[in-house]
Symmetry: C3
Subunit: 309 residues, 3 copies
């Protein structure tokens, strides 16, 4: 039996294939149950604390909605400026304090490793909702949940990961999970934003076929799925270089017409202009369904680490 | 049978007289029920999302309290600075995202028409809690609820609307609703802040008697009700003009003594100095009761658009 | 029978010994009950409003968690910038408004006397969660709850209060409560930050033995309990004076080794460097247990003033 009771969720590679399967199954069960009724009472009386040291809408609201859909309560630190952090308190002390109030803590913090530090300090389970350029494991799990739902299976997919593969914590965690199920990966990015060598060589050592390219059309033509990410202007020293490149990594109606085959499109959002609004009505455009799936996956994780699923 | 199930609440003029009557009746029922017990469970498991892109205390807290009094949960975007809006996300994408988490969305945004734009993007009902100088329909409904409670009826009242009638979105929506029940209106404002001509001529075409004046005492002497609003300093190019004028539109003890007849006094709050604190104990001073009525009216709207009333 | 129903909690000296005993007893009952189940439903349907005009993590979250552990709901003003206070509303009007939404209000405000002002305006009970350099009575009650739990009794203790005794509202309220049970007090502070003469002479008039000293080791050697507080840099005109002094009021492993006897250590937190992290594992280090006790004490106060305990 898989159990996550009392465990922290810190890193995409902490999970075995069996654990991922179990999480997806619990999430799927919650999705079905929420179709029958508005909410459950599994976590009645439990309290989630959200500590977001960086801006976020979707991740924080997604966790808070997931907790409430399970009947639990939420306390939220609010902005850093309005908290004791402004008085110079260490992250460790903040987390140890909040541990006394809540049954589980979700944290986003700009420093790599901060979630691990928080988990070491906390007396309750900690979920990493993004530690700088590090990890964002619940996003990766909701991504695979969405992929399985959109494509029917996770086995031996051909997936294009597109955009900023260097700094994008989402894709780093996602390839870890995809590699559990076998996959062919197209890594589509500007040279400046290629996937770190440590990750690609690790993938190859696991027998994953990896193709690095700058040609989105070539990759898309061979793929079941396009996983799009934002290319951030501030990563480029030479802005004209940015302007020249970004157009190559955009999906719009014209692109899909040329592609002329159905493909699933995911994006962790927020998007800026990597996917044109005109694409939103395309049947394969799954990024808002992906948002919704975040609720089910986070319900599953909360219920499992609190020992209730 | 009146049903608002699945409907957006965007504009004061979207309601028929029958719909307003139905809303007031449901609100009145909730008011009675809350006297018997602290809360209801009608919206148990439902989630309200509040998206406030502008400062607000009373409107946001009023909706959040109303939702909780009905047993529902709340998720709140928090300040714009701490949200993904800071990453350049469009309003449409934000709203489509939040639609995946919540069963109903309340939005305040500085741009006229933004609530309509949000409603078009959302897959759940949207309530406009103020779109710039546009509309604020739930305020107008709680105003008529208060007027009926204070005066016993909405039929053929004489009402003075006082202060900034040009930019005040509250009064624009309110006159729409009052005109459904027949009314004589005194529009009391500085020349610079007169009610827009489009609105007054529309009122007249419906047979509403309209008197525009700068003389508050004359209007009050003929009125059942004074609806006060703030005159904002920043509307005047000439500050000495502002200083000269604002004194003419203030209610204090001396004014009420001279008036020497009972009149109901409403104000959407916050006030600055249009109504002196000394007036608060005057029996007709209804503005804090008006605040409380907002809970019952918003409970009614939430329950009705979620199909539970 | 002690009843706090409908009462405000404003000042450390408002309570009789009998009332404190009753509060500690109710808090202790809630602590036991929360070991058996996650939450209670005593305040189901009640709503707490938190109005924090100053930064806070622990106090606000502690109240919000306490309310939810009792089954109640919470509405929160959020930061001052995002509220109507930004439109120039008076504290009195804000509080009267929020009274219409909530069953109880917790307020923190930088001005001494503001909580009293809020209580006068409110139509529901108000709890002072800090009014500038004034009072913070719930902190003082959770302190005595912790002291009794750590030391077994409140009778005739020897207590060292250490650090900023001049501006520290926590210690001002705490000595009021300790004096109800008899106590010997060591007041350990730099000369610039001594306890106000009005307080010490009042304590002496009640028969409390008071020793003022700058020697922490001398005080600790005679004490059952060290109550540490932050010394704030901004209190000193001469920064070199601050640097010279602050080292004398720090507890670290070396200090405890020299002391060589067990002592309980409390701190209202956040700490900066008055207590080294290495002390956290010392058996007498009670400051995180103290944080947890805040939940039980605030549950007791909320339940009692709402007439449910």
């Amino acid at each position: 039996m898989v159990s996550l009771k009392g465990k922290d969720i810190l890193h995409g590679n902490q999970f075995s294939k069996r654990e991922i399967d179990a999480i997806l199954k619990v999430a799927s069960g919650f999705e079905r149950e929420l179709k029958r009724r508005d909410s459950l009472t599994l976590l009645k009386g439990k309290i989630l604390a959200t500590l977001f040291f960086e801006p976020s809408t979707r991740t924080r609201l997604s966790f808070e909605a997931a907790m409430q859909r399970l009947g639990g309560g939420v306390i939220s630190m609010g902005s850093v400026e309005s908290s004791s952090v402004a008085k110079g308190e260490t992250l460790t002390d903040t987390v140890r304090t909040v541990s006394q109030y809540a049954d589980v803590i979700v944290i986003r913090h700009p420093r790599i490793g901060s979630a691990r530090e928080a988990a070491d300090a906390a007396s309750v389970p900690v979920i990493n909702a993004g530690d700088g350029a590090g990890q964002h494991p619940t996003q990766a799990i909701l991504d695979v949940y969405t992929i399985r739902k959109e494509l029917g299976s996770l086995r031996d997919l051909t997936v294009s990961l597109v955009g900023d593969l260097k700094y994008g914590r989402t894709v780093h965690a996602l390839v870890e999970l995809l590699s559990l199920f076998g996959a062919r990966l197209y890594l589509v990015s500007p040279v400046q934003l290629r996937m770190p060598e440590a990750i690609t060589s690790n993938l190859k050592s696991k027998g994953i076929e990896v193709v690095e390219t700058e040609d989105l059309m070539e990759a898309a033509s061979a793929s079941d799925l396009l996983y799009m990410t934002r290319i951030q202007k501030e990563r480029f020293e030479d802005l004209s270089e940015y302007e020249r490149l970004k157009g190559s990594f955009i999906i719009n109606e014209a692109f899909l017409k040329r592609l002329n085959r159905k493909v699933a499109i995911l994006h962790p959002l927020p998007r800026v202009d990597e996917i044109s609004q005109e694409v939103d009505s395309y049947p394969g455009a799954a990024y808002f369904r992906q948002v919704k799936n975040g609720i089910f996956v986070r319900m599953a994780l909360l219920a499992m680490i609190l020992g209730k699923a």
